[in-house]
């Protein structure tokens, strides 16, 4: 296990290097001269030359990469041209907590909705319960999060007035307000995820229930409830955890949309606005942060997967 962890970590470091090269070169393709943009009205040939040297832009591309990555690693991500704030503060202190809070709530919503319906659909296979549940799952799985968000705002926010439709309230300053503000966004983001998890849970449970060891347990006279909860569900956990983990990236995609619909100041909205404003440093750092998060989530899922599946541990 330890050896595997070490190997996987090595792989992760290589990946981190590759994505940093990608991000660096993609942003090099950006139109316009960053020095001219940074100087703005202070532009004159001398200050231009000075800043260019300062940023290392007169050196070779490899040295430029070296300068950029060493700055990134030490947390020096530059400043936003528009707000003047530190990019690292905008991303890590302001935006990231919002996105994480939203993702966490959505995950809770998704699991609470999906696991029971997936299990029920598998146990009542080919009945109306199964058809309704899976029909809803495919439906929600196909519903674009930005459209679902608008529909929910229209029904529960505007028509019924049950929940606030816009903005973010920090859970530290107002715990209750933060949850009511998160209800619609979390449902919007969680619905897609719930559809996916419900379908996986159902198909894995159906598979497991057909396995010989389940028949043995039933033949031994084990209570049918215990067969499902003790014997079958444990084996369903592996594919479900894998999908939950692998699709966290998909959740991040949904988060970008959901944040825009509900005006939540998360990292998705930050990066969207940064692209529209052509703030390349902010785009660069945000994309790096999201990719790094994604890589570490995958690493975590991989580890958990090995832990849950003893057969993989030996391999």
């Amino acid at each position: 296990m330890l050896q595997f962890a070490f190997k996987r970590l090595q792989h992760t470091l290589i990946l981190l290097f590759i994505i940093s090269v990608f991000v660096f070169f993609i942003m090099k393709l950006a139109p316009g001269d960053p020095v001219t943009v940074m100087l703005g009205s202070d532009y004159n040939p001398e200050s231009y030359a000075r800043l260019r040297t300062e940023l290392g832009l007169d050196r070779s591309i490899f040295i430029q990469y070296g300068i950029w990555i060493s700055r990134f690693v030490t947390g020096d991500w530059g400043y936003s041209y528009i707000s003047g704030a530190k990019v690292s503060k905008l991303i890590l202190q302001d935006a990231l907590p919002v996105t994480l809070f939203l993702s966490l709530w959505s995950l809770v919503f998704a699991l609470v909705l999906a696991l029971p319906s997936g299990i029920l659909a598998a146990l009542k296979r080919n009945t109306w319960v199964d058809y309704t549940g899976m029909g809803l799952a495919i439906f929600f799985n196909s519903f674009p999060s930005f459209y679902l968000g608008i529909v929910l705002i229209w029904i529960f926010g505007v028509s019924l007035g049950w929940f606030p439709t816009m903005g973010y309230v920090s859970p530290w300053s107002d715990p209750v307000g933060s949850i009511t503000h998160m209800m619609l966004p979390a449902f919007t983001l969680g619905a897609w995820y719930a559809g996916l998890i419900a379908r996986i849970t159902r198909s894995s449970l159906v598979d497991v229930l057909n396995q010989p060891f389940i028949k043995v347990a039933k033949a031994k006279g084990v209570d049918s409830r215990a067969v499902v909860y003790k014997h079958a569900l444990r084996n369903v956990l592996i594919p479900v955890v894998t999908i939950v983990g692998l699709q966290l990236g998909g959740m991040l995609r949904g988060a970008v949309m959901t944040e825009t619909v509900f005006a939540l100041p998360g990292i998705g909205r930050l990066v969207t606005i940064a692209v529209l404003n052509r703030e390349y440093q902010l785009v660069q750092a945000s994309v790096m942060v999201i990719a790094i998060m994604f890589i570490f989530i995958n690493l975590g899922v991989d580890m958990l997967y090995r832990f849950l599946n003893p057969r993989m541990r030996a391999a």
Binding site: N141, P144, R253
Partner: protein
């Protein structure tokens, strides 16, 4: 639905009938039969074909010009003159949805096709040559896949700029990695087969082996990937346009129309509502079709 209709000698048990008839049919015919037996998949295919047909025929059947503004007709609800109402500029919603579906399909097919060509070439080369070629190519693919699709697309749009072409390119880049990974995996599985070695011994060159002998045998998972990615591509395209990072206004794009209607959700819910509904139906259709295609081509595969 088509049923298996195999005459000749009748085997004794129903199980035998199934096994024998499956053995006698060519793989492609078997695939078609399996697909047709899946009601959801057929429904999906019909929905998709219907939408493709009406979007292709948009210039002929659309009742209005998708870009023509008519302030006298703004914010009209569904009526005989405008079946799905009009938007804030008085443009006919039905017309714009027909043209919008057209953009969705163009972006979907174009981006996934480009991704397929590039990804399959990378996957074939990596799987066939192995060694350093494989290591370098697959690390690049790993890197591509570590960005979530939307984020990579946003980063590329940031430098390429807005517009239909750039959206297609950005989406193609995000999907190429998936095709490469799938292709390489399957090439590794069949590389050691006798017919591949035979071709090599006969002096067939690298490209010949890859495209004439390996590619036809790894096509199924590639086609499955194509079907599943179409829905994701269309979803991403409309999402990018919704964020303002895709097709710029006044083009009739479904994502853009949903975004434009947001501000009028109380007084004119149809402006966001109908384009969204059209998008949902297209995605449901593509998902059902993609799932059916996967089940038909690769019966062993589970949802994953």
């Amino acid at each position: 639905m088509t049923t298996l209709n195999v005459s000749a000698t009748l085997p004794e048990t129903p199980a035998d009938t199934q096994a024998t008839s499956e053995r006698r049919l060519s793989p492609s015919r078997l695939m078609v039969l399996r697909f047709c037996a899946n009601r959801g998949a057929v429904a999906g295919l019909i929905i998709v074909l219907l939408f493709i047909a009406v979007s292709l025929l948009a210039p002929v059947i659309a009742p209005y010009d998708p870009l023509k503004q008519d302030y006298m007709a703004a914010f009209q609800g569904p009526s005989w003159a405008h079946w799905l109402g009009t938007d804030s500029f008085g443009r006919d919603m039905l017309t714009r949805i027909l043209y919008g579906a057209r953009i969705s399909f163009v972006v979907g097919f174009a981006s996934v096709s480009i991704a397929m060509v590039i990804g399959v070439a990378i996957g074939l080369a990596a799987g066939y040559y192995g060694g350093l070629v494989e290591a370098v190519l697959m690390r690049i693919v790993d890197g591509l896949l570590s960005f979530t699709p939307l984020v990579l697309a946003i980063a590329l749009i940031a430098v390429l700029g807005l517009g239909l072409q750039n959206v297609i390119l950005a989406l193609a880049a995000t999907f190429a990695g998936m095709f490469a990974r799938v292709t390489r995996g399957d090439v590794l599985n069949i590389k050691g087969e006798p017919y591949v070695e035979a071709a090599q011994l006969l002096g067939v060159g690298g490209a010949g082996v890859m495209f004439r002998h390996l590619l036809p045998n790894v096509l199924s998972p590639i086609i499955v990937q194509f079907g599943l990615n179409l829905a994701v591509a269309i979803l991403l395209e409309s999402g990018l346009s919704f964020l303002g990072l895709g097709v710029p206004p006044p083009e009739p794009d479904l994502g853009l129309m949903i975004a434009e209607g947001r501000g009028f959700i109380v007084m004119a819910p149809w402006i966001s509502g109908f384009p969204g509904l059209a998008l949902v139906i297209i995605i449901v259709g593509l998902n059902l079709f993609g799932d059916g295609l996967r089940d038909a081509l690769d019966p062993k595969a589970q949802i994953s």
